[in-house]
């Protein structure tokens, strides 16, 4: 590796991805459809009174098989933002790593942090650069959320595979369980929701997504594996202790398994039950 000292007219600036291209490390275009790879599934993000909550299940699948039970899909991007991923696990984790590096690289070279909007645009570029690979089956669809220190609010963004960037005002979900998770959040959401309630809502969303989508993992009570959750506020990115997540899940399961529960989770219908005879 040569020492990356450039002449003024030839300087790649604070862009780490450009620097990688200069030394010959370019994104992969497989050229033809890629056989089955590991996929990460459902992540959700929602705004609450103090900022944003991000949550993701822990399951990774290859086709109909579970390939990992403890995958992490929610990452800090820097002090005041986070990124959650769904899609092909390899390229997704690589994208997160590059994104984290890009933000830190910019901050060190320029001496100031990028604005939250600037960070969201950087991620958009990365998703767009992945488009050739996405067309061959290596899709990566992230969520980006952060606390905007200039506007003093939490903000969240979702993306499509072309790098399209859409700011959401309340919540967003991506991955195979996004429809169910998104609907649960949508029904329970209101403006200025408090931390505890917002966490319970995200937990409920992941639980219901896991209930309907085989690729989304629910809480694993046997192994003690729970979805990963984080809050992003003016104080920064804060991963929520597993004990708290476990406790909230336990309460949700207790509530759902009472006889009065109106959800379809409790007992299985019998032949002379709801379906008639």
């Amino acid at each position: 590796m040569t020492f990356p000292l450039y002449r003024p007219g030839d300087d790649p600036g604070p862009d780490f991805a450009e620097l990688l291209r200069r030394i010959g490390a370019t994104p992969v275009d497989p050229g033809q459809p890629v056989p089955e790879v590991t996929h990460g599934t459902t992540v959700v993000a929602l705004r609450y009174a103090d900022g944003v909550i991000m949550a993701g299940d822990r399951r990774a699948t290859s086709g109909n098989l579970i390939s990992h039970r403890t995958m992490e899909k929610v990452f800090p991007a820097d002090r005041h933002s986070g990124v959650a991923i769904a899609g092909a696990a390899g390229p997704a984790v690589e994208m997160v790593q590059l994104f984290q590096l890009q933000l830190e690289h910019y901050e060190k070279i320029e001496g100031v942090e990028l604005s939250l909007e600037g960070k969201a645009n950087q991620l958009s570029l990365m998703v767009r650069n992945n488009l050739p690979a996405a067309m061959q089956g290596l899709m990566v669809v992230p969520l980006f959320a952060g606390y905007d220190l200039r506007r003093r609010v939490g903000r969240l963004f979702q993306y499509d595979i072309t790098g399209g960037r859409y700011e959401e005002s309340d919540f967003a979900a991506t991955g195979s369980g996004r429809l169910h998770a998104g609907t649960v959040v949508k029904l329970g959401y209101r403006d200025g929701i408090e931390r505890g309630e917002a966490l319970d809502l995200a937990i409920s969303a992941l639980f219901q997504a896991a209930d309907e989508d085989s690729a989304t993992g629910g809480p694993d009570l046997v192994r003690g594996i729970y979805p990963m959750m984080a809050t992003i506020t003016a104080e920064g990115f804060d991963r929520i202790e597993e004990d708290e997540v476990a406790e909230r899940f336990r309460r949700l399961v207790d509530r759902l398994s009472t006889p009065e529960s109106t959800t379809s989770i409790g007992t299985a219908p019998t032949m002379d039950g709801r379906f008639g005879s």
Binding site: M1, F3, P4, L5, Y6, D11, F16, L19, L20, I23, Q97, L98, L101, E104, H105, K108, I109, G111
Partner: protein, 225 residues
């Protein structure tokens, strides 16, 4: 065809060294010193925008004196080299020694082959988990590397400042006293420096992943009060 005048290599090197030394000595000096909880980097710099001290990597900092555009170019190259290395291998594989070697190669190359040497002196500092593992690599304009400790002085009047610091410095000092000693050594007997004249940053030994932290004017004022 005209032949260039013959200049002996000794004379050429001496002229270049004199040129670099003279211009570096004109700038304001900088001091780095290890203390109980990390490494303190303290520069006399009235500007809070154009910086002499910067973060390179998790536990590595950079400081430069002399010509701003030249040491800033080296600073950026150092950040790039460290980030690329951490990306290709792992974060643990980025260390000050290899970075100092890189800088030495570049400075040596420029000193002998370019029309003029770089008018800079730089410092690569790395904080360890214990004070014995702290590293201060002092690099001169011609690529000379000096592995220094427990403190290092860059720029003009190096000997006088180092002497003043040696009289005061005690191993295991805390942040406040090491800052006071560094400031007093920079200022000398005739004048005094306050928070507005200084640029100070520390590499905290016990800080989380990124050890580099700037001390703002308010924090400096309270430490110096």
């Amino acid at each position: 065809m005209t032949l260039p005048f013959y200049v002996s290599p000794e004379q050429m090197m001496k002229d270049r060294a004199d040129f670099a030394r003279k211009n570096i000595a004109r700038g304001r000096p900088l001091v780095a010193a290890t203390y109980s909880d990390g490494i303190l980097l303290c520069a006399e710099n009235p500007s809070s925008r154009l910086r002499k001290i910067s973060e390179i990597y998790d536990r590595i900092a950079f400081a430069g004196v002399g010509k701003y555009n030249e040491f800033d170019q080296l600073r950026i190259a150092g950040i790039r080299a460290a980030d690329l290395r951490g990306y290709a291998y792992s974060r643990e594989d980025v260390d000050a020694r290899s970075l100092a070697n890189n800088y030495a190669q570049i400075l040596g190359q420029i000193f002998t082959h370019e029309p003029k040497p770089m008018e800079v002196e730089i410092l690569v500092a790395e904080v360890g988990s214990v004070p014995e593992e702290d590293r201060l690599f002092h690099l001169l304009y011609d690529g000379t590397v000096i592995d220094e400790g427990p403190f290092s002085v860059l720029g003009g009047e190096v000997d006088a400042i180092a002497e003043r610091l040696r009289e005061r410095y005690v191993e295991g000092d805390d942040e406040r006293s090491v800052l006071r000693h560094a400031t007093a050594a920079l200022a000398g007997p005739e004048r005094s420096l306050d928070a507005g004249d200084l640029e100070v940053a520390v590499l905290g030994r016990r800080d989380s992943r990124r050890a580099f932290r700037r001390l703002d004017k308010a924090a400096l004022a309270s430490l110096l009060a």
